[in-house]
């Protein structure tokens, strides 16, 4: 353990020195004493003892070397030296530190997002053991699970600690003065046990509260507790009221608990033994489970499949058609964000690489200026390694400063992430922690090596340094291909990034330009609270919808109003397999279509044209449906479709309908997707989550208050919430797209500026190196234009070389992005042309300044400096 003691000594240099002095001085004193005893006089004995011992300071030094780690000390010496020499070059230091702060900061910022979203486990104890369990019915994925089946799975399996489930409903809470919409999570028994979380105040549900007929109890969120109950502990004596039921508040969840929804307010039990929950056909829970320790995902899958096979024997209908699907909850939470984040991370890594290259070129220029200093060191006997170490230490000092600033950038970036993409999964978990700090340090180390090694090795080549030390002042012309190559590499990387950003920007632009088949402008959307229980009374819920729509239409400024289960243009692919009552030949394609549930006024409100047949009407007795043109053309020979009867295969909720008419194609399931075959059920029952759409004459947001008043008048016990223009919903749906486009564009612009700074710096350096040569040529009659042309040529040739290499890189990058593009091909010539124009124009500007400066050299003055 020698090194531990050595390091300890390293941190107490003064104490060590004192101890050594005491110990050695004792030795000398003892010797003097002995000599005195043998008869010497006191001063004589002292002198003799000292003479014999030798130089005390040198002895202390030599002994001390045994007590401290040599490398550590040398490193510290190098660092001290670096700080001193960097302080003498503030311009250089500031440039490098800022470049690195940008590079490392952007990199760490994206890393912090990756760390929070992808790497860290879900914010539950042992969150990586949580599973999402869904069921597939005849291969159709059906996200929800029947309560009875969930209970069966829970007690029959042997690989899971427990299975629970939840569904959400926006409910109207009635204990206050006005009804307030709260997000209610209806949960299956064992909810908190499976998640491994306890309430911060109060208790979990008791067993009797998890059954039908038991006491009704509610857990509330920290947010609701603070807002409604002023964070008072006597909340546990209060109750919430939904409809006719009162729920005693038994606990408050910790502030970090936001499961399953970020805005969850209340958790109440949905007992699996409610009479209406006993059917094996009714599915409503999203099921989650927790793996037993040391059980793998594959084992859990196999186990649940066995369990389901048993259930299929017991209840052939419908369990024989059902198979469980198991995946890690984390993977399903993160979903598609993963690819975007890795692409962003790749981009910022390229950015950091550009920064490193930039610094490498700067360092090389600086090292050439210091050849004499280096030569002096060599002549004083320094080894190549120690001279190179001094230079690396310099870079490391700069990199550390850059990383520290970068950490600040990364801290600020989480705010940017949140404002740009508030819907990104787990976005609120992004925070500064020691992962990020360590990562910044690692970045500093890597950048030191990447940008420092080549300059350090090159400048310490002995032959070169010696010859240059002598020739330094009379040098006429030197070629510096390596520096220019580095600049070209920067340009290449910048072109690749700019190309990628350009493609994303063009996609974004195309997305804004496409006509989606409906008119999303001037539409206001809103929710009116209701419960699933109320949907049992179909006629009642239809009347309610009609009353609300009538009320909305009566408002001044409203053109029309409708309701729908899904918003158009917002990705939501609820698809169904269907057959026709008329029968279909085997050779005909199987019908699979997007299912939408709308009121007849939906088409007029969204300006979707009627193409054939009639617009469906309400209360016409038999349920009716509309299909879009693609559906009719693909499956039922166009207008012959009218009059056919559609059945949703294996879905008892959805009644058979007759096709009444054909409407135009609309991009229902997302602006970036071609219209799919779509069936619209003309059904206006009010359900939790139903959207009301209002077409207004003017700005839709201006009607917010009027709508609120009118509906409060009509339905005093319901809350009206989420009053938002349709365009805002659509734009939010593409937030991830927006995030990646904006960030990549920022990175690309930074890359281009870094590369142009690199070009400018290197060229300026070349010009300064060749001042005398230029002066000589000017004195001999060269034209200033020729000088400008020459340096401009060097700059543009370098940039052109970089562009050529960059186009190859950009093609690779575009391939990676291809799944995220809309309306542009990865080899879009407009983008390529734009990128080349920008890069070459910036390069020309960056080269022109040093070139003009070169031509302004005063020959006589420059030559006299010699």
């Amino acid at each position: 353990m020698a090194w531990i003691r050595q390091i300890r000594n390293f941190f107490r240099p003064d104490g060590l020195q004192r101890d050594l002095h005491r110990e050695l001085a004792f030795h000398v004193a003892e010797r003097a004493e002995e000599l005195r005893q043998s008869g010497m006089s006191e001063p004589e004995a002292d002198r003799a003892a000292h003479r014999q011992f030798g130089n005390l300071t040198a002895q202390i030094e030599r002994t001390r070397d045994m007590d401290i780690p040599e490398h550590l000390e040398a490193m510290l010496r190098n660092l001290r030296l670096s700080v001193r020499s960097l302080a003498k070059a503030p311009g250089f230091s500031a440039t490098v530190i800022l470049t690195l702060a940008l590079g490392i900061g952007a990199n760490s910022a994206v890393f912090s997002a990756i760390d929070a979203v992808l790497l860290r486990p879900l914010p539950f104890p042992n969150g990586d053991a949580l599973l999402l369990i869904t069921q597939a019915q005849r291969k159709n994925p059906e996200p929800n699970v029947a309560p009875v089946r969930l209970e069966d799975w829970n007690h029959m399996n042997s690989t899971l600690l427990g299975i629970t489930g939840y569904y959400a409903q926006d409910s109207s809470e009635l204990s206050g003065e006005l009804p307030e919409k709260l997000k209610c999570e209806f949960v299956a028994p064992r909810f908190l046990q499976v998640l491994g979380v306890s309430p911060a105040l109060g208790r979990d549900f008791a067993p009797q509260e998890e059954h039908d007929g038991g006491p009704t109890a509610a857990l509330i969120s920290d947010r609701l507790w603070r807002r409604r109950f002023n964070a008072s502990p006597d909340v546990l004596t209060k109750a919430l009221r939904f409809g006719k039921t009162s729920y005693a508040i038994i606990g408050v969840m910790p502030p970090s608990f936001h499961f399953p929804d970020r805005d969850a307010d209340v958790w109440v039990i949905s007992a699996p033994d409610y009479p209406f929950a006993r059917s094996r056909e009714l599915t409503w829970f999203t099921a989650i489970g927790r793996l037993k320790p040391a059980v793998t995902l594959a084992q859990a899958r196999a186990d649940l499949n066995t369990v389901q096979a048993d259930l299929a024997r017991q209840f052939p209908k419908p369990d024989a058609d059902i198979s469980p699907r198991v995946e890690l909850l984390k993977e399903s939470t993160v979903g598609g964000a993963e690819r975007s984040l890795w692409i962003l991370f790749g981009s910022v890594s390229l950015l950091l690489l550009i920064a490193c290259t930039n610094i490498a070129a700067l360092l090389m220029s600086r090292a050439t200026g210091r050849q004499q200093e280096i030569a002096v060191r060599f002549s004083l006997g320094a080894t190549r390694a120690s001279v190179a170490a001094v230079q690396l230490a310099e870079v490391f000092v700069l990199a550390l400063a850059g990383a520290a600033l970068g950490l600040l950038v990364a801290m600020g970036a989480s705010t940017v992430f949140r404002s740009l993409a508030s819907d990104l999964p787990r976005i609120d978990e992004i925070a500064l922690n020691w992962h990020i700090v360590l990562y910044c340090l690692a970045c500093a180390l890597v950048t030191t090596l990447l940008s420092g090694i080549i300059p350090a090795l090159r400048s310490t080549r002995r032959s070169l340094s010696q010859s240059l030390a002598q020739a330094g002042r009379s040098q006429v012309s030197g070629r510096n291909p390596l520096q220019l190559t580095l600049v070209a590499a920067q340009v290449a990387l910048a072109v690749a990034l700019l190309g990628g950003a350009g493609l994303l920007l063009r996609s974004f632009q195309e997305l804004g330009r496409v006509y989606p088949g409906f008119d999303p402008k001037h539409i206001l959307t809103l929710h009116v609270s209701t419960t699933w229980a109320e949907t049992g009374d179909q006629p009642g819920s239809k009347q309610r919808t009609d009353r609300i729509l009538e009320g909305l239409r009566s408002l001044p400024g409203v053109q029309s109003a409708a309701s729908t289960a899904f918003l158009p243009g917002v990705p939501n692919a609820y698809e169904l397999d269907m057959t026709t009552a008329e029968g279909r030949a085997e050779s005909e394609p199987k019908i699979r279509a997007l299912a939408r549930f709308v009121t007849p006024s939906y088409f007029a409100t969204l300006s979707i044209p009627l193409l054939a047949g009639e617009m469906c009407r309400d209360g016409a007795g038999q349920p009716l449906a509309m299909v879009n043109r693609t559906f009719a053309d693909r499956y039922l020979n166009g207008s012959a479709a009218i009059g056919h009867h559609l059945l949703a295969a294996g879905n008892s909720y959805i009644p058979p309908v007759a096709i009444d008419g054909i409407v135009g194609d609309a991009r229902e399931a997302g602006l970036d997707r071609e219209p799919q075959p779509t069936v619209y059920w003309c059904n206006n029952g009010l359900q939790p989550g139903t959207f009301f759409l209002v077409r207004t004459h003017g700005d839709p947001a201006a009607l917010t208050e009027a709508v609120r008043h009118k509906l409060h008048e009509l339905e005093p016990l319901r809350s009206v919430y989420d009053i938002t223009p349709l365009s805002a919903h659509i734009s939010d749906a593409y937030a991830e797209n927006r995030l990646r486009t904006i960030l990549l564009a920022c990175f690309a612009l930074t890359a281009v500026s870094l590369a142009s700074i690199g070009l400018y710096g290197t060229l300026s350096y070349l010009v300064s190196l060749r001042r005398r040569e230029v002066a000589l040529r000017l004195a001999l009659g060269a034209l200033r234009n020729q000088v400008v042309g020459q340096f401009l040529g060097v700059g543009l040739r370098t940039a052109a070389l970089g562009c050529a290499a960059g186009l190859v890189l950009a093609a690779g990058f575009a391939r990676l992005l291809s799944g995220m593009l809309f309306g542009v091909s990865p080899t879009d010539s407009l983008t390529i042309a734009g990128v080349l124009t920008v890069v070459l124009a910036v390069s020309a500007a960056a080269s022109l300044i040093p070139a003009v400066r070169a031509a302004r050299v005063e020959p006589m003055q420059a030559l006299r400096e010699e």
Partner: protein, 111 residues
Amino acid sequence: MGEKKNDILQGTLVLLVLRTLASSKRMHGYAITARIHQVSEDLLRVGEGSLYPALHRMEQEGWIKAEWGKTEKNREARFYSLTALGRKRLQQEEESWRRLTEGVARVIRYA
């Protein structure tokens, strides 16, 4: 570290110090030189220049440990004593010394 020319001597010094410390509970540096001097009947003389670096190196290796204490004349001195690791080391050093002298003796006798 140290003069290269007396590498062997340095190795021997470790053996001498360990052996000296093995025979006593604890000793300070001056006492160690005096003891070696005395036992070898003036044949061996430990240079102060190499003693203290050697002692400190051995301490870092963990063969000996040091503590401050008072001499019988009530002076502050740094006392060294052998550790278990040092005892093991001493055996190895003695063994290799024995082999070295035996080898050298054979060469002198038979070569």
